[in-house]
Every structure is written in C-alpha cells, then in structure tokens.
Amino acid sequence: MAAAVQPVLETTANVLEVRDLSVQFRTPKGPVMALRKVSVAVPRGSIVGLVGESGSGKSTLALAVMRLMPANATITEGSLRFAGRELLTLPALEMQRLRGDRLSMVFQDPMTSLNPVRSVGMQMVDIQYRDRQMSQADKRRRAADMLRRVGIPDSEHQLDRHPHQFSGGMRQRIAIAMGILEKPELLIADEPTTALDVTLEAQIVQLLRDLRRELNGSILFISHNLGIIAELCDYVVVLYAGEVVEQGPIEDIFHSPRHPYTRALLECDPARIEEVCRELPTISGDVPNLLRIPSGCVFAPRCPQAVDVCRQERPADHEAGAGHIARCHLLRGGANG
C-alpha cells in the first residue's frame, strides 16, 4: 500500500495541467474516441470555462480529472497533473484522499448528487471524515458556516432538513457548499446552473466569484451557456467533438474568435443578436459520429470556410495571441481566417 512518495512541486503556476489526454470508450459498435489529445491548464486562482455542445467531451474531461470514469472508459495517452502530481499513476487510495479534499466537484443535478435519506447536516459532517481531531459539534458548526456563506439563511436549523425539503436553487447552493467545504484547490463545476432560473444563476455566479476571491481557489467551469462563461471565466477552452479547437483569455475568445466553430457558436447565441430576428442562425450539419472521426479537421464537414486541405490533413495549433491558440488550417501563415 505504501505509495512511492512523489516530490510535490508546489512551484507550478498551474493547479491542473492536462496534456495530450485521450479517452476511449468501448462500445458494442466499436471504440469511441471521446477525447483526443486534449491539453488544458488551470492557472492557480483562476476560473477556466470549458464550453462545447453536448457530446463534445466536456463531462468526460471532468470525470477523467476526478478519475471517476465509467468502467468502459480508458485513458489511452496523456498526463493529468494536479498541483504538480501525476494523477494517472496515483494509487487509488491516494486519489481517494485528494477527492473531496483538494479536488472536488459539483454536478449538474443536485437532487441526484445529494443523498436523499440523510439530512444535509449529516452529509456535511460526513465529508469532514478526514479530520479526526475535530468534534462533531465543531464539524456541524463549520457546515452551518459554509451554508451561510452560500446564502442559506437560518443555516443552523437547515442542517436537520433533508434534500427534498429544499428548492432546486437551495439544493444547488448546498451542493456547492459541500464542494467547497474542505477548501479545495480546484473545484470542478459541471453545468451547475443549467437547471436553474436566470435569477438564481446570477446569484450562483456571484457566489462563485466571491468564493474564488475568499478562498483563492481555482475553478474549472463547464457549461454550454456562453453567457455565463462570459460572466464568470478568465480563460475559455472550446471543445468540439472531443478536441480543443480554440482556447485563450476570455476577451480574446469573445471579441476576436479565430476558429470558425467558435465564431459560429457565438453567432448562434440569441442573447448576442442585437437586432430582433425571427430566423435565427444555426450551425448546419451534425456533430460527427465519434466512431468514424473525419480525416482532416473535425469541423470541416460543417465549416463554411473549409477548403480541400481541411478535409485531408489534421490542422495544427496556431498561436493567435498570448495564450490564445486555435486549431485551424486557415490561420496558417498568419492569414486571417
């Protein structure tokens, strides 16, 4: 059991460094390459947004980082470094120690991630099992404190209630409170506001901003909602069909997107269309079937600007600015796509 102690390199500026990660799912129809050579970094103290349509691999990436992937999934290559430690070679027990302590996750649906038959207080005391010195009463007090921080009034009394006695918004706050209770270095939030009303979403965004400032934690925020990414994140990673097609600082991505997919995605957002129009823009075609990945660029079959080379060769990453990378043939030789 005694794991080889790795030297912990706290000098790294990135809390999380995902390099060339590829994930394969075994399915009855054949292997599905859900992620292909994905590289993402989360700088310490920052909020990184992971945006993409359903099936683009957002949640797979999150689960891979947590090492909570389903049994038919395997990581075929790449590395996952968390605070300087390689997670892929970490023994299961060591990983278990990290999870929920230095690395935690908030899921989309709080009703399924909270235990319906235990009170909120008991669940919040449970997850503090690592601390053997602290008394139950102190743990409860900490739990109540955290509930108050996420905006739940009368938190002492709320501890004795069960998840079904809270509204959807309250449950998501509780899930977030549980996610940050142990002050993780990295919080992975997978669509935490998708099921909520805009008014609550705005409150959760404000809450995550405050928490980042107070705890100086880092957040990997997954969403398909461009508006909320624009509101919250410092960096954006755009995933399409299992590949990172563009990533960079938020302003670069939203003000000067370089990849045709990013541009198309931004154009589709009805909130960004100032003029009222009945006919809304769409991205024609379908997401490629990951059983048969197109040769060449993954976006070429739907790309309005695709040329011959796009259908034949895989594009390389091009640097479009400081930290701004886009994977597109049209950017080769400095040509503006």
């Binding site: 349509e53 509204s167 009303d197 508006g227 302003e251 939203f254 589709c268 957002d269 009805p270 009222v276």
Partner: protein, 356 residues
Amino acid sequence: MAEVSLAPSQQLLAANSDNTLLEVNHLHVRYPLVGRIRAKLFGIPNRFLDAVLDISFMLRRGRTLALVGESGSGKSTLGRAIIGLVPIAGGSIRFEGAEPFRTAKGGTKAYHRDVAMMFQDPISSLSPRRTVRSLVTEPFVVHALSDRDRDAEAKRLLALVGLPLDFAGRYPHQLSGGQARRVGVARAIALSPKLIIADEPTAGLDVSVQGEILNLMNRLQRELGLTYLIITHNLAVVRHVSDETAIMYMGRFVEHGPTSEIFAHPVHPYTAGLIAAQPHPDPAKRRTQVALLGEVPSMARRPEGCEFHTRCPGAKDLCRQVRPETQAISAQHLHRCHFPLMENLEACADASRRVV
C-alpha cells in the same frame, strides 16, 4: 349572428373576436393541499394552493404569446389549464368564441384537435417502445381517424418537420435531443391544430440546435397559420420569437404587452429584474450586482399585498398592504404595480401616443 342588435362597444368586440382565437377571462386554477378523501375522513377543511390567479388575455390568430417566469410561477399550470389537463376553479376559457369545457363531450374532443401541446423534455414524453412512425400518427388513433393512411401521414409529417423518411422506423433512444423535439413538433401538428402550446420548446438544447427548432416552428407558423403560446424562462429566445410577452409571478400576470416594448421599456420591477438577470454575452460588460435576490416564495405562503414585495427593490408600505390591480399603459400594455418604473412608463406612453 344578429350583430345589428348589439351596442356599439359590443360590435367592436364582436369584430375583434373574429381575429381572436383564444380568450382567457379571470382564470383561476388551484390545487388541493389535502387529499379529498383525507379531508372527508378527518373532517379537515380543505386548503388550496392558487397556482393561477385572475389571468385574462386574448390571443389573436397567427400570433405568438410568450409566457415567461421563474420556476414555480404557474406558467406551465396556465398552459395545462388552457388545454384542459388541470381543472379550472374559476373564470373562463373561450376558443373561437365557444367554451370548450362547458359544452358536450364532443366539443372537448374537437377542441383537443384544434389545440395541441408540445411537452417539455421530448425524450421522456415519447414512449420508448414505439417507433417514430407510430408516435407521430398516434393522434389519428386517439381521435379515431382510421380512414387516414398512416404511412402517408407519417411521411407528410416527417417531411414537414425536416426529418429524413427513414426515421419512421427509429425508436426514441436512437434520436438526438433536436431530433426528438422535431418528433414532438410532428405529433403536435398531426391533426392540423390552430393553436400550439409549447412548454419550454428549447430547454436543454445546444444553441445551434435551439435555433433550428425555433426556425422550424417559425416556418410552420407561416405555412400552416399556427398560433403559438410559448412557455419558457429563456428571455433571450422570447425577444426574437414572440409578438407579445406576459411575465408571470406567483400565478399572476405582472406585466403583459408587445415583446419589443417589454424589452425596451419594462415597467414592472420584476420584469426589469428578470431582464437584468440575463448573463451579458460580452465579458467586458460583466455585471457586478445581482439584479434579483432570493427566490419565488412558496405559493402556499402567498405574501400579503403585492406578491413581489418580498424581493422588490422599490417596495413601500403600500406594496406590503394593498394588492395592486391591473393597470393599462396602452390598449396592449398592462401591468400590476403600484410604483411602475417611471422613465420606462413615460417612454411607453410616448410610443403609444405616436401610434395614435
């Protein structure tokens, strides 16, 4: 109809009603909090929860009305009451001048042919054991239209909603979210209805697919002359697809008017708060303050006075005591607020004066 004998004002109404498809008057829907049997057995007086209160509106042919509100505002209940899925406790619903639920059984059946519903979450509203062909032609079976050629109808409907014909043999689990929505649309238009009630037609869809579904609904509206009642919480979509918008809060319309006017000059603080709560798609224009705090109170504990006073930034004593009545800014634009936002009120009044 002997229109000659009507008073002038009624004549005007009658002329208008030609164009009016749906008319809802003082609609009231309530849910019992205690089961009927339990109430009888233990002699407890039954208490009720008012999900829809005093709602009146008219919907003209070929128009789109969007019902907007947070979860728990009663918008889905209103949609369900109009189609007859929940009983009405008071008020009336008139469709093409007749009251569908007060006529003989045959009238209600005919009404269900004229009014169709698109349910939230299309995958779970489709039976997993039936093929697309069977699903889209089910309405013909329900309405005993056995003379229709079901294969031909399935082909016609799939073509109308833009699905390839070979989808007829597929099962719901083989469909993507967008394709399942299209099947839902096909089911809704199967009997050539006049009004479609669409409950969250794009919830859970990616933005690119969302546009496709809305464009499809827009095309069908033009081609088939449909009238839509769209229930949604997505304001960004409402702005583009609807003619009129009604904002619901705790079962009441707090503001109702032309969509362009509501978005440009909301007069109810709740409407203004909802619009301000939309995330701004430009990272350079981030909001630093949260527009609307808290959540909708439970309908079982309805606040006194104006229901919104518990969250309203401008609430005064009057709001805590007296319930505001509906007031009109113009013939189309109504609100329910003691202290409407003055600037916007003036802008709306100016606009309507210009029209006159």
